[in-house]
């Protein structure tokens, strides 16, 4: 693991309504690393992302980005500090076109917008052909690509990807993961949440396994790949 730590989460506990969604969770993402968060639904992955993004308040624990504690910073502040977020369910802006969805997330002026949007279309050619379509007109796979591309428009240091292959056909899911690998290769650090174990381990160096809000296991992908404990966490028996 790279010596420089980009994201440090320490003893995080989050209540979602009355449910203890996360309990005393600690994890690290190093600069340039790709880390997977694995776990069944309800394990706490989405809650984790929402808390890092500032959409949920933890009642215990700290989150620090590049050694700077995030404290009570608002979501928009965190986005400007270098967090990119592709949420569960994609949440593309339905009434904006593909191009507008991308442009609205850029922080600079029109030249910067042009550069970044072009880069997005290089990464996802399928988006380029549909640049004038509205968000609501896109298929699930296209929306997912748009959500990821949009998250990159702010030139984030850390990209939070919540279940990018959810509800996608295997072929599309593979395509999306290919793009994610390109993003990782480009040097952006990534924290990826996935239900599908094999897919996430194939793209990431390390992984944390969440089970009912706690970190059950963690380690390098190779070690976790055929791990019986992981299988049990999912399929029981």
């Amino acid at each position: 693991m790279n010596a420089e730590i980009l994201l440090r989460i320490d003893g995080l506990s989050v209540n979602y309504g009355r449910v203890k969604a996360l309990h005393d969770v600690s994890l690290l993402v190093g600069k340039g690393e790709a880390v997977a968060l694995i776990g069944a639904n309800g394990a706490g992955k989405s809650t984790m992302f929402k808390t890092v993004m500032g959409l949920l308040k933890p009642h215990k624990g700290t989150i620090a980005l590049a050694d700077r504690p995030l404290g009570t910073a608002s979501p928009q502040r965190r986005a400007r500090l270098g967090l990119g977020y592709s949420p569960e369910g994609r949440r593309v802006f339905p009434g904006l076109t593909v191009r507008e969805n991308l442009e609205v997330a850029v922080f600079g002026a029109s030249a910067e917008r042009r550069t970044l949007v072009d880069r997005a279309f290089d990464l996802f050619p399928a988006l380029g052909t549909r640049s004038a379509s509205y968000g609501w007109q896109l298929s699930g796979g296209q929306q997912q690509m748009l959500a990821i591309a949009r998250a990159l428009m702010g030139r984030p240091r850390l990209l939070l990807l919540d279940e990018p292959s959810l509800g996608l056909s295997p072929k599309l899911a593979d395509e999306v993961m290919r793009a994610v690998r390109d993003i990782i290769a480009d040097g952006t650090s990534v924290l990826l949440a996935e239900q599908n174990v094999a897919r996430s381990l194939a793209s990431c160096d390390r992984a944390y396994v969440l089970d009912v809000g706690r970190v059950a296991l963690s380690g390098p992908s190779d070690a976790l790949r055929d791990n019986e404990a992981v299988k049990k966490a999912y399929l029981g028996g």
């Binding site: 969604a21 959810l166 509800g167 029981g236």
Partner: protein, 608 residues
């Protein structure tokens, strides 16, 4: 704050003891003292004040009526003032022009607006909030236009004057004192009637309806009919109040139909409280007196009055009554009501009926959302006492299937048969009434109601809850008592009996989940659908819940459980059905399904 008119009623005991208990409950004592003080003041009031007191009473009736549609049904009806004006004009026109007595004009003033409400109900009641408000506003404006234009009958913009006082069987109430008494007698009648209608199971059903429409429908409640009843009731009450104002001020004019009166009505409701009769009276009296006291300063006061009401909306959403109750709650600990005695849950009625080939039969169901097939040719069946687990990765269609089976969604193709009947096109509340009950991923309980009352709502349809029964239930609501008795048994089955009289707002998550399941089984269903019941529960709670579900199934109930948690299901299900991308990929014993290659692939991904 406890929902007004709600609270465990004491078991039938000696009258005296019961009355003392009533005094000690909630804010009843301060209210009684206030009422007595008011009565004392009224007895010594001069003629001008008597008129004011009458007007306050009339507005109280108006607000009590408004509470049905605004407080209980939760809809902003801007037609309340138009029903009021309509009632006033019916009495005014028939009384002044045709000399008809109050014995005739009063009932007509109630029936007229109620009929209008019933007529337009079909158009407006299905609309979302913002459209409903505008639609009712349009109706109000239309009525106002008719009233100002139909000069020959209504006297146009000037209205009609010289309307006689209340005349009953030839005898006219000439004095202001007599009129005031008559008005307040009617206030008491209106209040008692409203209390009667809303204090039992029916009133509680409205709270659930406001909390969540799908949940209410899934319990078999006909929410359309409930909203209809509330709307028509509110119109009838407004008409009665309108009739009285004609007698008190002896004039009817278009102002009685207009928007300013509607805003006054809203203000009184907001300040007094949306759900309690006492609040209606309090709000009416407060506003009438405030308006009077500052009459000379008029416009400055109105600015202040708007500001104060705004402050109420922001800071005290339950009005003065709610604030008083909160105050009371801070001074003394809330009194726990008596726990009802347990009644056994009746066996599902159809157990004795001959069954078709299966209890539930789903054949070839297809459901698409915007081009995506959430369910693609899914078929499965269930037998009595079977516990079947429905599994699959996120987005595979499990909850969609549950929604189709329980009638919240209508399938695009395929067939649904329940208890031998074709249920494919039945709306949710009708399927529920056949004998199906379900829980939801997000728990919806009425926070301000006790556990036993929440569970008792599961019996609402079985008790034939409805307006007629609510009015007819004289001294006690037997339906509510029976329902509570059965609710205790259901609570026992789920191990929450010790929380029976606790308000749901203070419960831990695991307990809330069990209360929700208890509510579903209180309905004595033949088929129980559970949507992720184990989510958020720790291991011990999961084991406990699984055991309880097994005992429910042992009674003959078929159970379909949607779950991610395969450890939980392992202890529970005899059969597992697995969905992936809307298609059914396995339907077999748990062991077989767990090692099924397609299932493993769906969850863990294809082997590297």
């Amino acid at each position: 704050m406890s929902v007004s008119n709600v609270g465990s009623e004491p078991l039938p005991r000696q009258r005296g003891v019961g009355a003392l208990r009533w005094l000690g409950r909630g804010i009843n004592l301060p209210l009684l003292i206030g009422a007595a003080a008011f009565a004392a003041y009224a007895s010594g009031a001069g003629p001008y004040d008597l008129r004011l007191i009458s007007i306050a009473g009339i507005y109280a009736i108006l607000v009590i009526g408004f509470q049905f549609v605004f407080g209980y049904a939760g809809a902003i009806s801007l037609a309340q003032s138009c029903f009021f004006g309509l009632g006033a004009y019916i009495t005014g026109v028939l009384g002044a022009r045709y000399g008809l007595e109050a014995t005739i004009t009063f009932p007509l003033s109630i029936v007229g607006p109620a009929l209008l409400a019933a007529l337009v109900a079909y158009t407006v009641l299905r609309l979302e909030d913002q459209y409903f408000a505008l639609a009712t506003l349009s109706i109000s404006l239309l009525v106002q236009l008719v009233v100002t234009q139909w000069q020959t009958v209504t006297g146009g913009t000037n209205g009609l004057s010289g309307i006689p006082g209340i005349t009953l069987f030839g005898w006219t109430i000439a004095s202001r004192w007599g009129t005031m008494v008559a008005v307040w007698v009617l206030v008491v009648v209106a209040g008692v009637l409203a209390f009667q209608i809303t204090r039992g199971l029916y009133g509680r059903a409205f709270h659930l309806m406001r909390e969540s429409l799908p949940v209410a429908s899934a319990l078999g409640l006909d929410v359309a009919r409930m909203r209809f009843a509330a709307f028509v009731l509110s119109a009838g009450y407004a008409g009665a109040a309108g009739s009285l104002i004609a007698h008190v001020v002896h004039v009817v004019s278009p102002e009685q139909v207009g928007l300013p009166l509607m805003i006054t009505c809203l203000t009184m409701t907001v300040i007094g409280g949306r759900l309690s009769v006492a609040g209606a009276v309090l709000g009416a009296v407060a506003i009438v007196y405030l308006q009077e006291q500052f009459r000379s300063l008029q416009n400055y006061t109105l600015i202040a009055y708007g500001g104060v009401t705004l402050a109420f909306v922001i800071a005290a959403p339950y009005g003065l009554i709610g604030a008083l109750e909160r105050l009371r709650g801070m001074i003394t600990a809330p009194r726990r009501g008596a726990v009802p005695t347990a009644q056994p849950i009746p066996r599902p009625a159809a157990m004795t009926r001959p069954q078709g080939p299966a209890l539930l039969s789903v054949v070839g169901v297809v459901k698409s959302f915007g081009g995506v097939r959430a369910l693609d040719d899914v078929s499965l069946s269930l037998q009595p006492s079977e516990i079947v687990g429905l599994i699959g990765p996120n987005g595979s269609g499990k909850t969609t299937l549950l929604n189709v089976i329980s009638g919240l969604y209508e399938s695009d193709a395929g067939r649904l048969e329940f208890l031998g009947q074709d249920a494919t096109r039945l709306p949710a509340f009708r399927i529920a009434r056949l004998g199906m009950a379900r829980t939801f991923q997000h728990i919806h309980l009425v926070e301000d109601m006790s556990v036993v009352d929440n569970i008792a709502l599961g019996r609402a349809t079985a008790e034939g809850v409805g307006l007629k029964n609510a009015i007819a239930a004289f001294h006690r609501d037997d339906g509510l008592d029976r329902a509570r008795g059965i609710a205790i048994s259901a609570a026992r089955m789920l191990g929450v009996e010790q929380h029976a009289t606790t308000l749901c707002g203070g419960l831990a998550y695991g307990t809330r989940r069990r209360v929700e399941v208890a509510r579903a089984i209180a309905a004595a269903p033949q088929l129980l659908l559970l949507d992720e019941p184990a989510a958020g529960l720790n291991e011990e709670e999961q084991r406990d819940l699984a055991a309880r579900i097994r005992s429910i199934a042992a009674l003959g109930v078929a159970v379909l459980v949607v779950e991610h948690n395969l450890v939980f299901l392992g202890a529970l299900a005899e059969r597992l059905v697995c969905l992936d991308q809307g298609r059914l990929i396995a339907d077999d014993t748990p062991d077989a399904v767990r090692s099924h290659p397609k299932v493993v692939e769906a969850y863990l991904g294809a082997p590297a």
